[in-house]
């Protein structure tokens, strides 16, 4: 299932830890990069790949919120709704996004372009309100800024898939 490049990454990841089990989180990240979400099939695959019981993989995937257990839109819009953001109007931003995207929190647009989520504190309290879209933070949000961003995403700009370089592992490679 994994591409050859990703299989090579898995081997590098395993070298960082004394047990194969410790590779579960980073290997799930590799899987999510390749497939966009973690299906049951992928969980079985990783269980076999690492020699860890399927039940353990399932337990991990269901514990951590960032592993998507369902496909998400091309742009996963995640708005921080915690206290500091709330004090700076996060609720209004969520409402605005719901209106603009025509979906409620937790839903994906029919064209599969956007999934809207509310998330807990993203450590961006000084630049509240804010949202994360895929890997990137967008801070100091206003209605205008949101509208501009959505426009860009619809135009295919701000699509960072191309530059989603995997975490560099020069450290390990040069050791060979």
């Amino acid at each position: 299932m994994f591409t050859e490049e990703n299989l090579r990454k898995v081997e590098e990841i395993k070298k960082r830890y004394p047990t194969a089990k410790a590779a579960v989180l980073p290997v799930l990240w590799v899987a999510q990069e390749q497939f966009g979400w973690i299906s049951e099939e992928v969980m079985h695959y990783i269980a076999d790949l690492l020699g860890v019981p399927f039940s353990h993989i399932l337990g991990v995937v269901t514990f951590y919120t960032m592993y998507n257990r369902r496909p998400v839109g091309k742009y996963h819009v995640q708005v921080c709704a915690n206290v500091s953001c709330m004090l700076r109007g996060a609720d209004n931003m969520v409402e605005h996004l719901e209106k603009r995207l025509g979906v409620k929190v937790g839903q994906t647009t029919p064209d599969k372009l956007f999934t809207l989520s509310e998330v807990e504190c993203l450590g961006s309290c000084g630049t509240a309100p804010m949202m994360q879209v895929n890997d990137d933070y967008y801070e100091g949000l206003t209605f205008d800024k949101i509208d501009r961003l959505l426009e860009q995403f619809r135009d295919g700009k701000g699509d960072h898939e191309g530059k989603r370089a995997e975490i560099r592992t020069q450290n390990e490679e040069s050791k060979g």
């Binding site: 990240w29 991990v60 951590y64 919120t65 206290v83 450590g123 309290c125 994360q132 975490i167 560099r168």
Partner: protein
């Protein structure tokens, strides 16, 4: 280090040293970091006996910046000596406490000083593998950090026989995946081991039984970033900055209803009012302050009319019934609806409770439900007593401190804002019956 060196507070105002966030452009690049004296503290440390390095940190009075303010040097001495087992260092970059956004600044602007601190700490404790646990959402900062690690590796600061010594160490980044509880040190270790982040029962403590059953020390990003400056300038220099029992600078992250939110590096013991009014620009619309949470959402709040004279260090805050936590200062103006704030905080702890301990798993859920009912206009003033009782049944009755963290905001807000909360409950109930 030459006279142009600006790292480790070598140049600048000695009354306001910038130890962890010096104002040097492009410091995240290794050439710039080295040109300003970077990695010279590591070389100095490698020329010392490991015990002497630990001793220097101990004498400096450095205390943990992750919330508990535990003496760092003392923590290092808990690591067993002469053991055959591998020893590990875990760096907590899981910054997830609502109101905290300080470690992120270090990762972005001064990652090499963090790496240098990790190497010095590892040498002091005889550690051969260090893991930096970074929250999954900090993708950008993880990339910056990994870049810094790779640069340090290519210059021979990481790997075999570092900086020409006969000491070898590896540094790895481990990415979390969205779980506040992994900021708790034993949850963090479980997560590095590839499991659900369930906190462990203590004892045994990590120094005896940490990662994979081996001796492990866990330190916060900001804590470790202070270490190179301490080794370079000496313990005495550090111990004279700020509050004597909690010395050094602290990163204060100010958010909420202020004009100029941000992270400010100031000596410990700085007045809270100075931070809010001089550095964060005061309150938007020049309103009065109703409530301040001084150290991230878990810490007991302080009333706006009791801010005068409050100093921001561990001991001073304890005397006013709060705690320094992560130094995340959340400011709320006089128009803030406290029951909504409490509901938001309660939702957070309910969502983040790992579910191992019944008081926390069930209690956080009930607190959330009652506050939701209050916010929907169905509350009674006696609900505050009920909330208080639930909070008291969580506090101290759980494996880890998340239970306390969930209980304190509820319990202390009720204790300190009873009148305001009762008024809100009644007015929300009136609004509902009028509708």
């Amino acid at each position: 280090m030459d006279s142009n060196s600006r790292l480790f507070a070598q140049n600048g105002d000695p009354a306001f040293p910038k130890i962890v966030l010096p104002d040097i452009p492009d410091l995240s690049r290794i050439e710039v970091y080295e040109a300003n004296g970077g990695y010279s503290a590591l070389k100095k440390a490698l020329g010392m006996a490991p015990e002497a390095v630990t001793d220097e940190v101990k004498k400096s009075g450095l205390r943990g910046r992750g919330g508990a303010a535990f003496p760092t040097g003392l923590k290092w001495t808990f690591m067993p000596k002469g053991t055959e087992k591998p020893k590990y260092l875990a760096i907590n970059a899981d910054e997830s406490e609502p109101g905290s956004f300080k470690d992120r600044q270090i990762l972005e602007y001064n990652p090499h000083q963090l790496v240098e601190g990790i190497l010095i700490a590892s040498y002091a404790m005889g550690i051969t593998s260090a893991y930096i646990y970074i929250r999954g959402e900090y993708y950008k900062w993880m990339m910056i950090l990994q870049g810094a690690i790779d640069e340090a590796f290519s210059r021979g600061y990481i790997g075999d026989n570092i900086a020409g010594s006969n000491y070898s160490v590896n540094v790895y980044v481990h990415r979390g995946a969205g779980a506040y509880i992994c900021g708790e040190e034993s949850g963090l270790m479980e997560s590095i081991e590839g499991k659900r982040g369930y906190p462990r029962v203590k004892p045994p403590f990590p120094a005896q039984n940490g990662l994979w059953g081996n001796p492990t020390t866990i330190n916060n990003v900001e804590t470790i970033t202070n270490v190179p400056a301490i080794i370079w300038n000496g313990a005495e220099w550090f111990s004279k900055i700020g509050a004597s029992k909690h010395p050094g600078t602290l990163l204060f992250g100010v958010s909420g209803h202020v004009k100029n939110p941000g992270v400010f590096e100031l000596p410990s013991g700085t007045l809270l009012t100075e931070i809010i009014y001089n550095y964060a620009g005061g309150v938007i619309g020049d309103k009065k302050i109703k409530m301040v949470i001084p150290g991230g959402s878990s810490m007991p709040p302080i009333r706006g009319d009791q801010l005068d004279g409050v100093k921001m260090d561990a001991d001073s805050l304890r005397t006013v019934g709060s705690a320094i936590g992560t130094g995340g200062v959340i400011v709320m103006d006089e128009d803030t609806d406290l029951t909504s704030v409490l509901l938001r905080v309660a939702k957070f702890y309910w969502h983040e409770s790992c579910g191992q301990c019944t008081p926390c798993r069930e209690g956080t859920g009930w607190i959330r439900k009652i506050l939701q009912r209050i916010c929907d206009g169905g509350g009674k003033t006696e609900d505050l007593d009920l909330l208080n009782r639930i909070a008291n049944n969580i506090e101290g009755n759980t494996i880890c401190a998340l239970g306390d963290a969930a209980a304190w905001p509820i319990k202390f807000t009720i204790q300190r804002f009873r009148n305001e909360l009762e008024e809100e409950i009644l007015s929300k109930a009136r609004a509902k019956s009028a509708a």
